[in-house]
């Protein structure tokens, strides 16, 4: 943290690069990190938080082990992408944007992953699972349940 602060301080640059570096380092923006940043920049934690929550890229709780992205782009949408998302939400017992209690999975909805031909798609970490159906979901998820691959 100190190292990140010293890199940016003095430069009256905007907050965003600061926040990006913190997130890269720690995986998320903790209360501690934001408070520390506030102290060294004289911008209140409230303002920093306000800025950070404006962007989807920042998160405020430790990330899960695996990120599940369900595409809701046009192509996936017409191929019932919504149903896929519902199914994943039900199985993981969380809503899009949340993390499971055991911190195994993050669930995100994304607009388009650029592989519309494979619609509907679900991407877990970096692996694309194409032409998903509600039925296939549990088998896809179970592939990851035991595995311990810390993503970067």
């Amino acid at each position: 943290m100190k190292h990140i602060l010293s890199q940016h301080l003095g430069k009256r640059s905007s907050l965003i690069p600061f926040l990006q570096d913190i997130q890269k380092e720690f995986g998320y923006l903790s209360t501690k990190a934001i408070d520390e940043l506030s102290r060294s920049t004289d911008i209140s934690a409230n303002e920093i938080y306000g800025v950070a929550t404006f962007y989807t890229q920042f998160r405020f709780s430790p990330p899960g082990e695996h990120t599940v992205r369900v595409c809701q782009g046009t192509a996936c949408h017409v191929r019932r992408g919504r149903q896929i998302l519902n199914e994943v939400e039900q199985q993981l017992k969380i809503k899009a944007g949340q993390t499971t209690e055991d911190r195994k999975f993050d669930l995100e909805r994304v607009a388009c992953l650029g592989c519309c031909a494979l619609a509907p798609v679900v991407v877990v970490d970096d692996k694309v699972h194409a032409r998903m159906t509600a039925k296939k979901i549990s088998s896809v998820l179970s592939q990851y349940k035991g595995r311990q691959t810390r993503k970067k």
Binding site: S44, N46, E47, I48, Y49, G50, F54, T56
Partner: protein, 828 residues
């Protein structure tokens, strides 16, 4: 710079925007997000104008005025555009009252906003009297909404001291965020989240206090809606006087704008809105001065007791007693929070009349503490505050206390004289730099309290002294040679306490301020380990089994009460006492289950007692309940019966409808709500009637209008209606009565006056029906609507609203700061 606005030639100053220039020339342009103390923001877009050679509709608040500009502010296209912008804004704001066709009648019957927990329309909004949105809607002509409005169902935040926040009213104009930044350099509140979830909050949704708020109240003052409110002042009617005076809590002597209603102080704000004042100046003064602990009458000791008396007798007794102590055995102690005029009289009295050199004037320390000790040989003392620990008073022969609050010292006094202080008096004080600052009387003192110079002058006169015949504080200033003092408006810096809460004063003349202004106990002298308040759970009483807020501000409460459930009949009610000290309030029995032994009430939060009830949760218990009370509705074959219900009445007609239908009637149920989200119980009602009609004021669900409009239409169409039963607020029942009268249709209303015992003894629930006095609790609740004296009923219902306004700000569970007990850290 010369330019033209609406064909009028005007000159703009340097750096002026088009909006500023227009306003300065009395050309009005609607605007909302902009504020005279803030830099332009350009968020609301209401201030759009047309400017020649500029494309589209620029916002005048962000466009700099320029040479030879030609501006139009009032074309039909602009007005239309603004109306649409306002309508879009109102899609996420409770806006039904703005388009209601019965606004005028409603104003007449409900002049003061109802003290609702959540605001779902102007008539339950604390901002009603001063609302900028309402004014805009009137100016622009508010049109129908393009789609049904939405309600965010956000919790109302009342967890902070002094400031209530109902984000369901927020229009995201950003004024609060910008003023906070302006006042303090960096903001406590900011926009959090994006798109439709954007709202005003603090980092990680911390409380205002934890986020570093100084409670300067600036955000409350600039908010154009009812979102941010001063908890103490919010339900007072519009102030009738505004007086400028000076704060005497500390030597900073901030200039204050004091607003009073009928002689009672309601709000204090900074005169110079550009510089914040501290929490005491902004929030503490009205509650401090209006405290129930104030001394209101003179008291004279008779044997062991202090007896209340009149001034004449008090002065006579005091004068006689004092005569025995002329000389240095007498001492007068005051501090510098008394005005120069007061102190002049004190000193003159001590020297000339009492012939004593012991006149002591204390300068309070940085916490406001003024302490003195008594020199040996002191026999008689006159104290103008709690300046001496009560343990030191043992050897005294005469103790006179002239103070604003009763204390353990005044308890021991021989004479107690009630003093008017602060905003209740005229005079002059000195600020920290030795400048004279004026006090102007802004409100009435409590009871018979009098200005301090008055009391001592009268005392001197009663002792036969000459030279004390002052008629006003001004006469004393003249004798003192005080020229006109000026308010400290133009200062360069905010007082320290406005930037750091911990630097505020905690005492005033020996009285702990937080004992009179409860919410101060929540503020630091900071300590991170504030334990949560231990709530003792009761094990007797009636247990609440379920509780839901089924519509905004409407709570469904299921209570275990087997004996009530066994006997209940349609139309009856219960009287509930939430705790041993609360008011007794009647609630209609909405549903019951004799087998399970439960009853269901629908409770709206509209005042202190209902708030206490809805703050309870499932599992909690209420202290006391009596019922079922009242005469049940006569269930017989009427023919076609129309039941109308609004607010709690929607739930209250459930069992009535069921019973009437079972008795073979054709039952039509018409329920009204301001907007679609105010409706509930649709499925339940459908099972107990032959026809269910829902109405909304804004037309977002069912038929547009009030329930009574449907009744009227049916009557006009010649439909056969044999009986109408209306249950709801007074206004709604009165409206129904008006509508059915010309048709001579039998109409019954369930009256809801204030009740006490509910057994016909106290007379609180008196109503006049057919020129006869009836008791709603035993003769009612149902009465023939066409015979009721509605005006009397309306007046009786608001009989205690002033008292209630006082109380409602205090029922919140404000956790006391643990240090304010015996070894209160305010003392440090």
């Amino acid at each position: 710079m010369k330019l033209t606005i609406d064909r009028k030639a005007v000159t703009a100053k340097k750096d002026e925007t088009v909006l500023q220039c227009a306003l300065r020339h009395d050309i009005s342009i609607p605007h909302l997000c902009t504020h005279s103390h803030l830099s332009p923001f350009g968020a609301c877009r209401l201030c759009v104008v047309e400017i020649e050679d500029m494309p589209g509709y620029p916002t005048s608040c962000t466009t700099p005025a320029a040479e030879a500009m030609v501006v139009r502010t009032d074309t039909a296209a602009l007005q239309n555009l603004r109306r649409n912008i306002l309508a879009l804004m109102m899609l996420e704001h409770p806006s039904a009252c703005l388009i209601c066709g019965r606004r005028d009648l409603c104003e007449e019957y409900r002049p003061v906003a109802e003290k609702a927990g959540r605001t779902t329309g102007c008539h339950t909004c604390n901002n009603k009297n001063v609302c900028e949105v309402r004014t805009l809607a009137e100016e622009l002509g508010f049109c129908d909404l393009p789609i049904p409005p939405s309600y965010h169902h956000r919790p109302v935040d009342r967890s902070n001291p002094f400031i209530d926040r109902d984000l369901n009213l927020c229009i995201l104009c950003g004024r609060c965020v910008r003023i906070c930044k302006h006042q303090h350099g960096t903001a406590t509140i900011d926009f959090v989240d994006r798109s439709s979830k954007t709202h005003i909050s603090q980092a990680f949704d911390r409380s205002l206090l934890d986020a570093g708020c100084r409670f300067c109240g600036s955000c409350v003052d600039v908010c154009p809606t009812g979102t941010l409110a001063d908890r103490y002042a919010k339900w007072y009617p519009k102030p009738d006087t505004i007086t400028k005076s000076t704060c005497i809590f500390c030597e900073q002597a901030c200039a204050l704008k004091l607003e009073a209603n009928k002689g009672e102080l309601v709000t204090a704000r900074a005169v110079n809105e550009d510089i914040p004042i501290c929490v005491l100046g902004r929030f503490a003064i009205p509650e401090f001065l209006n405290s129930t602990d104030r001394l209101r009458m003179p008291y004279v000791r008779v044997g062991k007791v202090l007896r209340e008396t009149q001034w004449k007798e008090a002065l006579k007794t005091t004068a006689a007693k004092l005569k025995e102590f002329i000389g240095d055995g007498f001492m007068l102690v005051c501090d510098t929070t008394s005005t120069l005029e007061d102190r002049f009289v004190f000193k003159k009295f001590t020297r000339k009349v009492m012939k004593s050199k012991n006149y002591i004037e204390i300068e309070p320390n940085y916490r406001g503490i003024s302490l003195s000790s008594l020199p040996k040989g002191t026999k008689a003392v006159l104290l103008t505050g709690k300046f001496v620990p009560s343990s030191q008073l043992n050897g005294l022969e005469l103790l006179i206390v002239q103070d604003c609050f009763g204390t353990n010292v005044s308890q021991r006094a021989d004479v107690v004289l009630p003093a008017a202080i602060f905003a209740e008096v005229n005079g002059t004080i000195l600020d920290g730099s030795g400048q004279k600052r004026p006090l102007h009387k802004a409100c009435d003192p409590p009871g018979q309290a009098k200005a301090e110079w008055w009391i001592i002058s009268k005392l001197a006169q009663a002792m036969g002294a000459k030279g004390f015949a002052y008629r006003s504080a001004g006469a004393i200033s003249k004798e003192l040679g005080i020229s006109k003092a000026k308010l400290w408006v133009k200062r360069d810096q905010a007082p320290e306490a406005a930037q750091d809460l911990e630097r505020r004063r905690t005492f005033f003349r020996g009285h702990r301020i937080c004992e009179k202004v409860f919410a101060l106990r929540e503020l630091p002298i900071r300590d991170s380990s504030v334990p949560s308040r231990a709530v003792s759970k009761r094990t007797d009483g009636f247990q609440i089994l379920e509780k839901y807020e089924i519509a905004p501000n409407v709570h469904e409460i299921v209570i275990q009460a087997p004996n009530v459930a066994k006997k209940a009949q349609p139309g009856q009610f219960v009287i509930v006492m939430v705790d041993e000290k609360s008011e007794r309030v009647p609630f209609t029995l909405c549903d019951w289950d004799a087998e399970k032994g439960t009853i269901t009430l629908i409770v709206l939060e509209v005042g202190q007692s209902s708030r206490k009830l809805v703050l309870l949760e499932a599992g909690d218990r209420i202290d006391h309940m009596v019922g079922p009370l009242g005469i049940p509705l006569e269930i017989k074959q009427y023919g076609t019966v129309v039941l109308t219900g609004g607010c709690y009445g929607i739930g209250a007609i459930l069992r009535i409808a069921a019973a009437l239908r079972e008795a073979g009637n054709h039952v039509i149920v018409i329920v009204e709500g301001r907007s679609h989200y105010k409706h509930y119980y649709k499925e339940k009602l459908e099972t107990v009637c032959d026809e269910l009609i829902q109405t909304t004021i804004d037309g977002s669900l069912g038929i547009r209008g009030h329930a009574v409009d449907v009744v009227g239409q049916k009557l006009k169409d010649g439909e056969k209606i044999d009986c109408v039963v209306a249950v709801g607020c007074l206004f709604m029942m009165m409206l129904t009565t008006r509508e059915t009268k010309p048709y001579g249709v039998k109409t019954l209303v369930a009256l809801n006056p204030i009740m006490l015992d509910g057994t016909g003894m106290c007379g609180a629930c008196r109503v006049t029906v057919d020129k006869e006095m009836k008791f709603a609790c035993v003769d009612g609740p149902f009465f023939d609507a066409h015979l009721v004296d509605w005006d009397e009923l309306r007046d009786r219902r608001v009989a205690y609203s002033a008292e209630e306004i006082h109380l409602v700000g205090r029922t919140e569970s404000v956790a006391p700061y643990p240090g304010h007990g015996d070894n209160c850290r305010c003392l440090r």
